[in-house]
């Protein structure tokens, strides 16, 4: 698989096949809910429960994941890293994958779960996706230029969905 040709379906499929508990957030989450925006990576918040980290690590091994910022060293994620609240910016055989321990205001997987929806992406592939209203909230809280620039489209998409 060409790392320059992201395969979002494959990324999600491998995570699902390993029964990883995760929530799709940010750009891909917004696109899945109908927002016409472009993004290059899959951002997910993962459960940091020990059993889930084991499943996640197996999925990452299958995907050949390594840290993008240390591409020349091919530094691979390890359990202690994934158990922390940090952000892991990975490259995989199916394209970029960002694993976030927590997002704004220290929200982790369990905190975001009530705002996640179960979405069937295609037959045999489902995933938890953070609902669009909460994606907007996170972007408002982040307040970065890129986040703020996306807000008009996301807000309008939310209004059109209602």
């Amino acid at each position: 698989m060409d790392r320059n040709q992201p395969d979002l379906f494959h990324l999600l499929q491998v995570l699902a096949e390993h029964h990883v508990d995760f929530i799709v957030i940010d750009g891909v989450g917004a696109v899945l809910q109908g927002a016409p925006i472009a993004t290059f990576d899959l951002d997910v918040v993962h459960s940091r429960e020990p059993a889930n980290l084991e499943r996640l690590l197996m999925a990452l091994t299958e995907l050949g994941a390594y840290y993008r910022e240390h591409a020349e060293k091919r530094l691979t994620p390890a359990m202690p890293h994934l158990a922390g609240p940090g952000h892991h910016l990975l490259m995989t055989q199916a394209g970029p994958l960002d694993l976030l321990g927590v997002v704004t205001k220290g929200r982790g997987y369990a905190d975001l779960l009530p705002a996640a929806i179960d979405l069937q992406i295609r037959p045999g592939l489902s995933a938890k996706v953070l609902d669009l209203a909460m994606i907007i909230t996170l972007k408002e809280e982040l307040g970065g230029e890129k986040d703020l620039a996306a807000l008009p489209v996301l807000r309008r998409t939310l209004r059109e969905r209602r």
Binding site: L8, F9, G34, A35, P36, T39, I121, R156, T157, E160
Partner: protein
């Protein structure tokens, strides 16, 4: 949840802007939003992948030989 709408295949272009009255005042092209909303989640994700590939092809095409 599986959103399924059969009427708008992914290869159908979004409607012409002039055919969608009510141009938004926030600069957002609502016709694109309505087009995306008419797709299934699978079609939306495939649209995103196609967009990424197109951008990458354009980028690679602009590299000096």
């Amino acid at each position: 949840m599986h959103e399924r709408r059969d009427a708008n295949p992914i290869d159908r272009p979004p409607p012409a802007r002039s055919s969608m009255p009510g141009s938004p005042d926030d600069g957002v092209d609502v016709t694109l939003i309505r087009w995306m909303l008419a797709l299934t989640p699978e079609e939306r994700l495939r649209t995103l992948e196609n967009t990424i590939r197109s951008i990458l092809r354009l980028r690679d095409g602009q590299k000096p030989a």
